[in-house]
């Protein structure tokens, strides 16, 4: 408990307090009042970072949710080949983000990369792009890679969720003459609502604070097209040494993250489920 307080709670409060100071890490912090916050409101770079981050969040959710759900339902099935597929689908989870980033850098290299080699031997011109250097596509490449990394995890969530749906419900639906489509909309989807909330919350908060792949692969570039909020904060803090202003960005990240998480949980009545468990115990 003490460990947790010192390393999580103190920094939490610290971020709020620091955002009111101007401090370069050396010397004494100067009281700055709302100055950092005013700077934030006027900072075009921060606005750019907010826009990029919003894009990452929305597109990640739109991309990852349907694919994960489809794969989760698929892997929950009982044919033998599906469990083999399921085991292979998990592989990206074992790679660290750093590993994934380096692997894809090798694949996406416009001169010697794997995709370029493929485009040469298969004569598929579209595979030869400046994936990480073309401002119009790099952000989407990054979002795609984030999806590649995290879909396996959300697939597992949906698989677990689907397996917890009692078979009786499908039996009953079948006796009532429901088509597979009706079963999906009337049984599977409503039964998966907690899974959907959990997975969506994780996707949204995760992509809101996403850092690793962007830092390693593009470092925000080309230009500022992939400079997400957490990277912006990192650079303001650890390269420009403006800890006060970086804390403003951190507070924004934290508040939006917690706000979205709590909002989703409230909205979906997820809290009532935990109290059910309490009552049962």
């Amino acid at each position: 408990m003490a460990l947790f307080s010192v390393f999580i709670v103190v920094p939490m409060l610290g971020a709020g307090a620091l955002s009111l100071f101007r401090w370069n890490g050396l010397g004494t912090p100067h009281w700055a009042g709302a100055q950092n916050w005013i700077q934030f409101a006027r900072d075009p770079l921060a606005r750019q970072a907010l826009t990029v981050t919003a894009k990452v969040v929305v597109l990640s959710w739109v991309l990852q949710t349907p694919i994960s759900m489809a794969l989760g339902l698929f892997t929950a099935g009982r044919q033998r080949y599906r469990s083999v597929y399921a085991a292979l689908y998990v592989l990206p989870l074992l790679l660290s983000t750093a590993g994934i980033a380096l692997m894809w850098e090798a694949l996406l290299d416009p001169n010697f990369g794997g995709l370029t080699a493929l485009s040469r031997s298969l004569h598929l011109g579209f595979l030869r792009q400046n994936w990480l250097g073309d401002p119009s596509i790099t952000l989407y490449v990054v979002i795609g890679l984030i999806a590649w990394q995290f879909i396996p995890f959300h697939t597992l969530l949906y698989q677990t969720g689907r397996r917890h749906i009692p078979d009786v419900l499908y039996e009953a639906a079948r006796l009532d003459g429901a088509s597979p489509a009706q079963m999906f909309w009337r049984v599977t989807l409503p039964q998966l609502r907690y899974t959907i909330v959990t997975s969506s919350t994780l996707i949204i908060v995760g992509s809101l604070t996403y850092f690793d792949i962007v830092y390693i692969m593009t470092n925000g570039g080309p230009g500022y097209t992939t400079r997400v909020l957490s990277l912006d904060m990192y650079q303001v803090a650890f390269q420009q040494n403006e800890y006060g202003y970086a804390s403003v960005l951190a507070v924004v990240l934290g508040v939006v993250g917690v706000g979205i998480a709590l909002g989703l949980v409230r909205f979906s009545g997820f809290a009532s489920m935990s109290s059910q468990q309490e009552g049962a115990a």
Binding site: Y170, T198, A237
Partner: protein, 298 residues
């Protein structure tokens, strides 16, 4: 996207026939074919990059550039594996193993003790600390990284493995305690009561009853937290700088800086860094998959 919807509509169908003893000899429906094809497309998307990496790691720098990197032709070699070990990968590997082991032990012992206390002694203090912990669940680590760095710096722990151990364990505690509390709460009070009546102390109850019963949950949490610690990037990036305390994810990017144009060496390093996890995964695949799915579902 319409394709994926079509697939998810189809997937409930095998469940319908699941209770029947011989579902294999059904005629092949169009839906099943579509499902199979789409699932295979995704399989290729997942496997192809990994296959590429494995193959590339067994090339020399020269043959990687001259022959088609997708085909196992033109001579394979393990020489780049030697290169990266010479460049300090062994050190990073050892650091990662130490860090992960310590974090798992630290997190599990703290969360088991805390959970037992929160469940058994429902005082206002323990209830309060539990709600603070729950708040910690929602705080992203990126939001506290700046003050955390300053804190570690002021405590003269900057650039030490010890700082990483403390910070990463602290970050793992909220989820772990939550899962643990839910589990300990479900242990019947009668069992605890009976042991107390038989003259056992709270400590005996904890050691003889709670710890053995919790083993499966502890294994789950060990896997989940271990994976997170092993792969965490931002904490080592911010809290350390020397090669001597670099853990694998950070070490990989350092190696890339050294060997930017030697792709086979970088790929070999990445593969070596996942090797321990692959071993764990092969040995306990079911446990791993179940634990990843279940931790957040609780």
């Amino acid at each position: 996207m319409s394709q994926t919807v079509a697939r998810s509509v189809r997937t409930p169908s095998p469940t319908r026939s699941a209770p029947a003893p011989a579902p294999r000899r059904r005629r092949v429906s169009a839906g099943r074919v579509v499902t199979f094809v789409l699932a295979t497309v995704w399989l290729v998307i997942v496997i192809a990059p990994i296959y590429y990496m494995v193959l590339a790691s067994f090339r020399s720098q020269g043959t990687y550039l001259t022959s088609n990197p997708w085909l196992p032709q033109g001579g394979l070699t393990v020489s780049e594996y030697g290169t990266v070990f010479g460049a300090g990968l062994g050190r990073y590997l050892v650091n990662s193993v130490i860090l992960t082991a310590v974090c798992i032990v630290l997190t599990l012992s703290i969360c088991l003790g805390a959970a037992y206390r929160i469940v058994r002694r429902s005082t206002r203090a323990s209830a309060l600390s539990f709600s603070i912990l729950l708040l910690g669940l929602a705080i992203p680590i990126q939001a506290i990284i700046v003050p955390l760095y300053l804190l570690v710096y002021k405590a003269h722990l900057y650039d030490t493995l010890f700082a990483l151990m403390l910070a990463m364990s602290a970050a793992a505690i909220p989820v772990s305690v939550l899962v643990m509390v839910n589990f300990v709460r479900d242990i019947p009070r009668e069992l605890i009561g009976a042991m107390l009546v038989d003259g056992g102390s709270e400590w005996t109850v904890f050691r003889r009853l709670i710890v053995p019963l919790s083993k499966p949950v502890l294994a789950t949490l060990a896997i989940y937290n271990g994976l997170n610690v092993w792969n965490n990037f931002i904490l080592p990036l911010v809290l350390t700088q020397s090669n001597s305390v670099a853990v694998l994810p950070l070490g990989l990017t350092k190696l890339e800086g050294q060997y930017a144009i030697n792709v086979p060496a970088v790929m070999a390093a990445v593969l070596l860094s996942v090797l321990p996890l692959v071993v764990v995964f092969i040995v306990m695949r079911r446990q791993v998959m179940r634990s990843l799915g279940s931790v957040v579902m609780r």
